[in-house]
């Protein structure tokens, strides 16, 4: 059953320059994807592609001058863009939980860990502080934090990066979310801790039937932990499908570049995506395919609007020359 359905999402940064002319950075340009319970989706793409922005647009947490200007976000049968801010707020942290990058700077420095766990719970339920505490201790233990009772008293600055990341995951679990959005949940952690945290997330999907969206630079993580993936470039999803299908038979030149750049290192979970080439200018994107300036298959046709095409079973790509790309890649 589809839990999250994002359709044609457009997010712009609208500002004025010194001459008081309106300038628009079109950061998301029609992002669409779906996510079901019990499924892990990997969202990959180079820096600035709009991955975090997608997450914050879904959560309705954009800071000016960013604004969602079009599209729908349907979650569990509700259109999130129509929700009152109170209703949206009660959804955040309870039904949709976020695990963010920079866990250490994301915890309130002046509040003990336990209190932070307790307050996300009491904010979303009628539970007493005592019940919430008991629950917090239990969940801290279940995310692999030793001596959880004592950890409750710890200050954020006393935690290592890995511990802080676990605390964030524990916070996400305080309210039995249906969807967890994990924005680069393991960046900056060492490989063992990384694997532990991702195993933990996968276990949650299996045992509690939550849906998880993992945002990452790391194709290795996608290959190991996700069932489906979406490749993002300049505010669009240019290819999406089952992980096996995309890795075995990539259709978009950008996806191919990403995968080709990393084949032998897919296993060591360390590799960062770098497609090569300069990022496109969001203030002045190409009229057709956004990848046109970096693509070796580009021709005039690519300046016409491109659309998603089915290239395999539940596998789509946004390119006007798919067969040429598939035939011509190796030559």
């Amino acid at each position: 059953m589809t839990l999250l359905r994002v359709k044609d999402l457009h997010t712009h940064f609208i500002s004025r320059n010194l001459d008081n002319e309106i300038r628009i950075a079109t950061a998301l340009n029609g992002v669409s994807f779906e996510l079901s319970r019990g499924e892990v989706l990997g969202l990959v793409g180079e820096t600035g592609a709009g991955k975090s922005l997608t997450a914050y647009s879904i959560m309705n947490l954009l800071k000016p001058p960013a604004r969602v200007v079009g599209g729908t976000v349907e979650f569990d049968g509700r259109n999130l863009r129509d929700l009152q801010s109170d209703d949206m707020n009660s959804l955040r942290g309870s039904e949709i939980a976020m695990v963010v990058q920079n866990p250490r700077s994301s915890l309130d420095p002046l509040t003990r860990i336990g209190e932070q766990l307790v307050r996300v719970h009491t904010a979303h339920s009628d539970a007493t502080a005592a019940t919430a505490r008991a629950r917090a201790v239990e969940i801290l233990g279940s995310v692999g934090i030793p001596a959880p009772e004592e950890r409750m008293q710890a200050w954020p600055h006393e935690l290592s990066g890995g511990m802080a990341q676990r605390v964030l995951i524990a916070m996400a679990l305080m309210n039995e979310p249906k969807l967890i959005i994990a924005d680069e949940p393991t960046t900056g952690l060492d490989v063992t801790v990384q694997a532990q945290i991702l195993d933990l997330l996968r276990e949650l999907v299996e045992t509690r039937n939550v849906a998880v969206m993992i945002i990452t630079h790391d194709l290795g993580i996608v290959a190991h932990y996700c069932q489906r993936m979406a490749v993002m470039f300049a505010g669009r999803i240019v290819e999406t499908g089952n992980v096996n299908s995309v890795f075995d038979n990539p259709a978009h030149p950008y996806t191919r570049t990403l995968i080709d750049a990393t084949p032998e290192r897919l296993r060591d979970l360390k590799h960062k995506v770098h497609g090569g080439g300069a990022p496109p200018n969001l203030y002045n994107l190409p009229t057709g395919c956004h990848y046109v300036e970096r693509c070796r298959f580009a021709d005039d046709v690519c300046n016409d609007p491109v659309a998603m095409e089915e290239v395999g079973a539940a596998h789509f790509a946004m390119c006007s020359h798919i067969s040429a790309v598939r035939d011509g890649w190796l030559s």
Partner: protein
């Protein structure tokens, strides 16, 4: 960081700094072109008489020797004699410190009570009309010269409106001051149960306190706003929102996390305000340490100027230590470091 290491660290930094500052003012005052010997000996003195006065004051010795003697005296608690009042500078300044502190305290307190909420509100209403207006007004506060502000206040509230008593001291000339307990006429008057003294002291206080408040509030508004905005854009506030905490709770997180930097700023601002306070004291004939120092500078009263500088340095040191203590109380992180 424990309290002891913190105090030690402050002192280790401060002593050489203090000696440096003393040396600098010592030289500055002496090379400044004013010759107190001429002033003291009078216009009719002969060259011989002048030499005698100079020797009495120890001003015939080389400068470095003079400085050395001066340092030695300070260590023994003797910071010299004022050539004007002919009294110990230490006594002169000590009895004036409470007078200045009273003005400074109420002024900064009022400035903070106004400035902090305005700054916070401006941050929470970022780029709305309240923000714009408060920014404009605080810019005005920045650009008014202190001395001029004092005069304008007197002109409007004493001369034009007649609401305020003349700016002539800390209590009406017709009332005899209360017995000294704290040095603040207002508090001493209250302690003595003498309402007429307390009322008059309060009336005298209002305008200079408002002047200090205006001068201190402008930077407080600006920095409080900037600090709160920075906290609001921090990762942990965004995460608090992403956790669906109610807006009131999020605001409380912002306030708590802004409090230490705001308090630190106000503390450092106090040490910088002393100069402006001296001018305000001058305009209102306040008679505190600030006015004393200013007078000493104008008249070339070497020992008094140095005593005043020493007072400023020690005052800053004490304020910084108090700010450190406050941070230690407010911040678990600082206590852990």
């Amino acid at each position: 960081m424990t309290l002891r290491t913190m105090l030690l660290r402050r002192l280790v930094i401060s002593v050489p700094l203090l000696i440096g500052i003393l040396f600098f003012t010592f030289m500055l005052v002496r090379l400044g072109g004013q010759d107190p010997v001429g002033l003291l000996a009078g216009p009719t003195a002969t060259a011989e008489e002048i030499d005698i006065v100079r020797a009495e004051l120890g001003l015939d010795k080389p400068l470095f020797t003079q400085f050395w003697i001066y340092l030695g005296n300070i260590v023994q608690g003797d910071i010299g004699k004022s050539w004007i009042s002919n009294r110990s500078v230490l006594l002169d300044i000590l009895e004036r410190i409470p007078i200045t502190l009273e003005l400074l305290f109420w002024g900064v307190a009022l400035g903070s009570v106004i400035g902090v909420p305005v700054g916070l509100r401006a941050a929470f209403r970022h780029d709305k009309w309240f923000d714009q207006i408060s920014r404009g007004i605080s810019l005005l506060g920045f650009s008014i010269p202190t001395y001029f502000l004092g005069l304008v206040l007197l002109f409007v509230f004493f001369f034009l409106l007649g609401w305020s008593p003349p700016g002539m001291g800390r209590v009406s000339l017709l009332i005899s001051p209360p017995p000294t307990i704290t040095g603040s006429y207002l508090i001493d008057g209250l302690l003595a149960g003498d309402w007429s003294v307390a009322r008059s002291a309060l009336a005298q206080l209002i305008l200079p306190v408002i002047a200090v408040a205006i001068i201190s509030a402008a930077p407080i508004v600006k920095h409080t706003r900037a600090i709160a905005l920075e906290v609001m854009s921090s990762d942990f506030v965004r995460f608090a929102r992403a956790s669906g905490l109610p807006p009131k709770k999020v605001s409380r997180i912002v306030l708590r996390n802004s409090s230490t930097p705001v308090a630190t700023f106000i503390g450092t601002e106090i040490t910088g305000l002393i100069g402006s306070v001296s001018l305000i004291e001058y305009v209102f004939a306040w008679g505190g340490a600030g006015q004393y120092g200013l007078n000493a500078i104008i008249r070339g009263d070497f020992s008094a100027v140095q005593g005043y500088v020493l007072f400023l340095a020690i005052f800053s040191l004490v304020v910084f230590i108090l700010v450190d203590l406050l941070v230690l109380v407010l911040e678990p992180r600082a206590a852990a470091e």
